[in-house]
């Protein structure tokens, strides 16, 4: 089964990092195949940012995402631009502290990641990791063990505890929404 995931938001939110962590979790720790690609403008921060992951049990040939099964979105602009690409019965996980209007299609899950990151952890920078936790819980495309290993391998030294907390906060958010 080929699952296509798109992450999108602003440059600086860790969109590309989130994609890399997910793909690493799937390919290195869950033993599946994964490809991560990204698209970006000349701006490093503030511009639109997009990162895409394909996870499959089989060989992945065409490496790009056209119609995602899962859309993780962290800005209103990205929601507007890409929501139409989502597969009809696809899943949208959106940062509801930044996006006020729920998506017009797909199964939608609201996670106030940026607000939680700021209020509970004192660092908005880990909002992407909360989203990864929620994604793992809601979709099950990677195992919790795999995503945790991949997060801990990918974040800067000294921030492991912070990121682990953020990830578990995301798991709880997802679990709560599924209940």
């Amino acid at each position: 089964m080929r699952v296509e995931v798109r992450f999108s938001g602003f440059g600086g939110q860790g969109i590309v990092t989130a994609g890399i962590i997910l793909a690493r979790a799937a390919s290195i720790h869950d033993g599946k195949n994964a490809v991560q690609t990204q698209s970006y403008g000349p701006e490093a921060r503030g511009g639109a940012s997009r990162s895409e992951v394909i996870i499959s049990d089989e060989e992945i040939l065409y490496p790009k995402v056209l119609n995602p099964d899962i859309f993780v979105v962290m800005s209103g602009q990205a929601m507007q631009k890409y929501i139409r690409d989502l597969k009809k019965d696809g899943t949208v996980i959106y940062d509801s502290s930044l996006i006020k209007t729920p998506p017009e299609r797909g199964k939608a899950f609201a996670v106030p990641a940026t607000l939680l990151a700021k209020r509970e952890l004192g660092k908005t920078i880990v909002a992407n990791i909360i989203m990864l936790g929620a994604l793992t819980s809601i979709t099950g495309i990677v195992s919790r063990e795999a995503i945790e290993k991949a997060v801990l391998e990918s974040v800067p030294k000294g921030t492991e505890e912070l990121n682990k907390k953020a990830l578990h906060m995301g798991f709880e958010q997802g679990d709560g929404l599924l209940r």
């Binding site: 890399i20 390919s27 290195i28």
Partner: protein, 373 residues
Amino acid sequence: MHMAGVRFLQGNIACAEGAIAAGCRFFAGYPITPSTEVAEWLAQRLPKVGGVFIQMEDEIGSISAIIGARWAGVKAMTATSGPGFSLMMENIGFAAMTETPIVIVNVQRGGPSTGQPTMPASGDIMQARFGSHGDYAIIALSPNSVQEMFDLTVEAFNLSERYRVPTFLMADEIVGHMREKVVLPEEVETFTAPLSKKGARYYFKPDPKTLVPKMQVFGRGYNVHVTGLTHDERGYPATNDAKVHARLVRRLVEKIEKNADKIIKVEEHHLDDAEVVLIAYGAVSRSALAAVRELRKRGIKAGLLRLVTLFPFPEKLLAKLARRAKLVVLEMNLGQILREVQRCAKRDVHFLPKIGGELHTPREIVKFVEALK
């Protein structure tokens, strides 16, 4: 040493690690999207393995520096993209004329000019073959995965050393920037051009079988003269001698062409009974293979010839395929390898180009092939 084991890496970083594995200990370059990560990574890594990294003033300086480094006895590489590649052309000819083994990585983006820095293309293929003035030959390889960004970089070094020729890794933004799982071996097979005896008179006298002369190193007692001027087998200029020039330049071309069967690598998928053969390379070849599998499901006998080596071109194989199958060339330009295929096929060749910075989708390819009469 280079990284080994199972890793999840970006293509450009796999290329940089491949260079280290192949024995590269000198990199000179000027950063340019989408090749920059090759330089970034080597800037950190080369000093740790006893190598040298220099950020040059531009790409003319970069290619000059790696040629000099190789004559100082160190395997050397540079990495660039379109505009930088154009600037390197004069000294690529110098490297060909002086038979300097160097590796040039081009992570292609949309051109002409500064074009599309963050988007993929295959617009520099003919430039790699013919970009410098005069007659010469080169070797060019085309990776289609992160694994091959490592493997073919090693291969590029080995080929450049074996045939003493500038060798190109013609990647594109997709394989350069994408990340995949790779398995990096602990050890790779490497080849270094053998050195000649000191005090020899005819440093540029080739081996009669391979047509490749032995190498020398500056600063180790070789009284060798290296020049871009037409030179005799001693290395001395002989610019007015028609015979010397013809012999030298013919040999520069023939040492690649006569060894073509040993150099060329292709991947053949479902060619045995194929009635339509797709011809693709680089990232496009991934879409092409997906399309072939879909076409087979729909009852169309399609196959794929994936070019791993772009130059020397697999002329004999193409001529053979053209006699029994329809040929369809797919590439991210308006017709470059197409011309090579047409030259060998001597029949109509179908063509599906795609430019603008997007890869052919398997669906587009399937639709195109189904519509062929």
